[in-house]
Every structure is written in C-alpha cells, then in structure tokens.
C-alpha cells in the first residue's frame, strides 16, 4: 500500500476534529490556523538501506533529510521557518555527526531555517525531520486541478534514478555525467522559489518524490480529474539524453522518484505567465500534457502505449 493511502486509512480521523486544522493529513504538508496566520507543518523520514545506501556520505544524508521536507513546502508554496530533527543512530560517531550536521545546517542556513528541537536515539540509522512554517498569500494543494488545464514539471526528470544506477554500477556514463547524476541523487534542489511564485498561477501542485506517474496520480486523484501526458515532452537532462542514445528508455523519468521537481497544473490562460516566470527564474518549466474530465492517466507519444501498462512509482510497502 502506498504511503498516501496508509495515512489516509488509519489516521484521517485521528484525534480531535479541531476546527483550526485547515488542511490535515493527505497533502504534502498541513495547514493550521493560528490567530493571525496559517502555520504549515510537514514531516519526512529517510531510512538507511531504503532511502540511501549504507555508507552514504553523512553530509549528503544531512542535506537530503532537510531537502525532502523543503520540497514539500515548495509544493505548497509555503515559507519554511523552523525544523525539528529526530535522529536514530546505531552508535555515536563524531566524524559522521560532523558531516551530517554540516550538510543539514548549511542547507538550513541557505533557506532561512532554524532547527528548534529534536531527539537523538539509539537504533538503526533513521532520520526524521519535521518542518514548520507559514503560508502567506495562500497555498497550493494537490486537489485544486480542474479538467482541461495544462500539466507542467520543473527541471528534468529521471536524473536521480539514473544516479542510483551509477552508484550500483548498473550504468556507467562519462565522468561528467556520472558526477552530475550522482549530485542530482544526493543533493536535490527544493523548488521553494518556484512554489512561492506559482501561488497566483497554478491550480494544484505536488513534488515528485516517488515518480511522476505515482505523484501526478496522487494529484489527479485528489482533484478528481484524469490526464494525458506526452512522453516525448518529458524534460530530460543532456546526461539522460546520452543515456537514451546508449539504448536507455524513459522509464526512470516516468516512474522513479527522488528528483524533487515540482509537478503542477494551471489554467490554459496562465501559460504565458508561467513561461515568463520560468525565464525570470532561469529554470526549465515544461508543459507535458493536459488534465481531462475522464479519470485515469494516459501516456501518449512515441512508445507511449507501452507505458500504459501498469507502471508505478516507488512504493513504500
């Protein structure tokens, strides 16, 4: 079962039905009403051997544990402010902690986050970060898409999955592509500025942590619409294009996660503004398809049909 439905099933009605919870379990982050504004809250966990290999660089783990939470905030168009860290480790290792905290704290400083608390415990290496912030002018949810709206993604897709292939020696590119792909896996860039800038234009948004098909699927389900996407329009990096030239396919770009790009929808009338925004931010934003009244996700384009067979993003269980 996916993370989504698991939380949905067991915890949607959990605890008190507080009137001040504006958006609770089921989206990228929660919104709670405070007397003079909206508080935004999220939590994400990385587990050794699941989300990163044993022996991964400690600074990369520190960086990524915060980055994946920042990515949830980006998908909400919200401003992160405070974090707590729950760190479980098999033993105290000074060298490892130096590296971990350096990676975590550098990204925290870059993004204006203050770590305000946490817990360290003994056990198998697990890093859980909770992020709290505020939403200003509004927020983006997964559920705001209407039919006949354009679907966009930021940056390029599939690089992180290809990076993992490099790490596992399943794919051996040139050294420049190798370094690029590994950095895309280890150091994803949370799209905070993009998320905030999209507030007036996008109708729904999600970050791609589990794969485009899976995460767009969540957005479509929450919005009760379907979609057609053109596989030829998936944004691919030069490194990924060289992988295609060496006989690779678009599976990683379609169905594997860890890219932490944003996928969002917007009314057709906002297309020029979104292109202008991309130019301003010097960030690639690609229109990859359209939402539809009919539910379900259809893949069009060259070899599109072959992807119409069940392809799934990363499944948590």
């Amino acid at each position: 079962m996916s993370e989504f439905s698991l939380i949905e099933r067991y915890f949607r009605q959990c605890g008190t039905g507080r009137a001040d919870v504006v958006l609770g379990v089921g989206d990228d982050a929660a919104i709670v009403d405070i007397s003079s504004g909206k508080l935004v809250v999220c939590a994400d966990t990385l587990v050794e051997g699941v989300h990163f290999p044993a022996g991964a660089d400690a600074a990369d783990i520190g960086y990524k544990s915060l980055a994946v939470n920042l990515s949830d905030f980006a998908a909400m168009g919200a401003s992160p402010k405070w974090a707590t860290l729950a760190l479980t480790m098999t033993q105290e290792n000074d060298h490892w902690l130096q590296g971990f905290s350096q990676g975590f704290c550098a990204l925290a400083a870059d993004t204006g986050i203050a770590l305000v608390g946490g817990d360290t415990t003994r056990g198998p290496l697990t890093v859980s970060v909770q992020l709290i912030g505020e939403s200003g002018a509004g927020w983006l949810t997964r559920s705001g898409a209407l039919a006949e709206q354009r679907i966009y993604v930021s940056g390029s897709l599939g690089d992180a999955a290809l990076g993992l292939q490099c790490l596992q020696k399943e794919y051996v590119p040139g050294s420049e592509d190798h370094d690029y792909l590994l950095s895309r896996l280890a150091r994803p860039q949370p799209r905070l500025a993009l998320g905030a800038a999209l507030l007036p234009w996008a109708s729904a948004a999600i970050d791609i942590s589990d794969g485009l098909v899976s995460d767009l699927g969540h957005l479509l389900q929450a919005s009760d619409v379907g979609a057609v996407i053109d596989v030829r329009k998936l944004p691919l990096s030069p490194a990924y294009q060289r992988y295609l030239e060496h006989g690779g396919n678009r599976d990683f770009a379609l169905s594997f996660g860890d890219d932490y790009e944003l996928c969002f929808t917007a009314p057709a009338g906002h297309h020029q503004q979104i292109l202008a925004l991309a130019a301003d931010m010097k960030l690639t934003i690609s229109a990859i398809g359209w939402t539809t009244q009919d539910t379900g996700l259809r893949l069009d384009g060259e070899h599109g049909a072959e992807y119409a067979s069940p392809v799934c993003g990363y499944r948590h269980f």
Copy 2:
C-alpha cells in the same frame, strides 16, 4: 554522550539565527514567536528494542509515542494542539497498525490533539512524533531554578523501571502489583494539567524520562545551581514499597526513567499553594529536597551516601 549534550554540541548554532526563536534546542520543547502568540514544538522518538521490547503491544506503542511528547509539553506548562507522526515499519501489518493507531488516536482525542501530517517508511520499527502547540500565560524552562528553592516530584518514581523488571521476569510480584507496574511502564500519564497549573508557582521544571538523577541533573545544570535531595522522601507506590520489603532498594526510583512524572522547583514561599494544588488535583506531589548555591547533586538520608557514587539515568549512547 547524553542526548542533551549531543544536540547541544552539534546543533545549537544550526541554521539561521532567527530572531523569532524564543527558546530553541536544549529544553524539553521549543518556543517560537508567531505574530500573536508563542508556538511550542517538540519531537521524541521510540525505537523497537531500545524504548520498547520487540513484540510489545501495538496500542501501547501508539499510546506511549504520543505520551512521551505530551510529557515534554507538561514540563513546559504548554498546551499541545497538533502532531505529526513519522512511522518506520519493516512491513505493512494491518493488525499492528489497527492497534497502534487505536492507542495513539485515543490519547490524541483525550488530550485534544489533531494529527496533521506525517510519513510512513519501510525500515526497522521506529516511531517519531512531533508535537506543536501554544503557550498561554508563559512557560516553564529547565533553567529558572534559583538556590534555596524546594524540589518536588509528582506521582511516584521507579514504577516503570520495576515494570520492565516484571516484563523481563527479573522481579515477580503479586498479580495486582504486576499489572499496576506494567501499566505504569506501558501507559505513562503525561502531567499536562499539573504543568499548566504550575505556571504561576514553579521556577523550573523537567519531565523524568531518563531518571530523576539524570533529569534533575539537567535542570540543575541549566539553572547553574546544585541540590541536596533526601532519598527517604522519594515518593514510592505501595507496589514499590512491597518491592523494598522483599529486599529491593531505591535504585530504580532514583536512576531509571520512563515514569514521565514532573520534577520541578519553586520558591519556599509557594509551598502552601503547591500543596493546595496537589490536593485539588488529587495528585501526590512530594518535596524531596532543596537547591543549593554549590553545584552538583548530593543525596542525603538513609543509605544516601551509597547513592553518592556515580549513578546515571538512561544514557542514549
């Protein structure tokens, strides 16, 4: 190294030095300034095989994962409102999740908490809960104690440790004591009402998660005072007293954690108010000693000297 100094060492200066963090890493929970009030945040993790034995009742784990966080709020005199849950499990197990969520959600409902988000991941069983709330009239820290103030503890001490002895068949009491001690281990009562009621009277407070000597030690260190406590005045339950009669000693009450009672200090002039408050709440509150100008913790009373040798609370590493 203890959890406290670990966080202290690596994360005190982490990220941005935000002006709106009123109280950051180093106390039971954090206080952040919001436009119209103070937000309170904390996070605590339970790991299988460390904080609870493999095969422990799922509902008890769910209950306790929230209770230990509520206990941090009790120690701050703060009002918890929203929680996030990061749950790492080896596999999806419907029966286990039913039990877990029942234990968690029942306590959430009892205490007015809304679960607003979280993450489920695959890996060794680890439960990390983050709690967010507000402080009204003020808050209690670990650092407010002055010399010549009384030291108090709520409830009784050592029962949870004795419960663990029962579980491990190291101690076999009568069946009534057995049930009582196990429930003290599995279902600690966070002292939220007491914490809130102490706001006008107490000078410093901490919850006893790692053991009286260890946690009082944190309070003394943060307040830069010492203390003398009278071992004869430690509040012991009838079940613990029967353990003494069978040759047991006060080690568990002094130095082992998991009781989640409050330990607090107050000026001598507030003694009557604190006794009245205890009577009102029908909760035992015991004066066990005094803070001193000289730093360090001295144990007095029958066999007190024997405890003056290094005794430590639960150490995280």
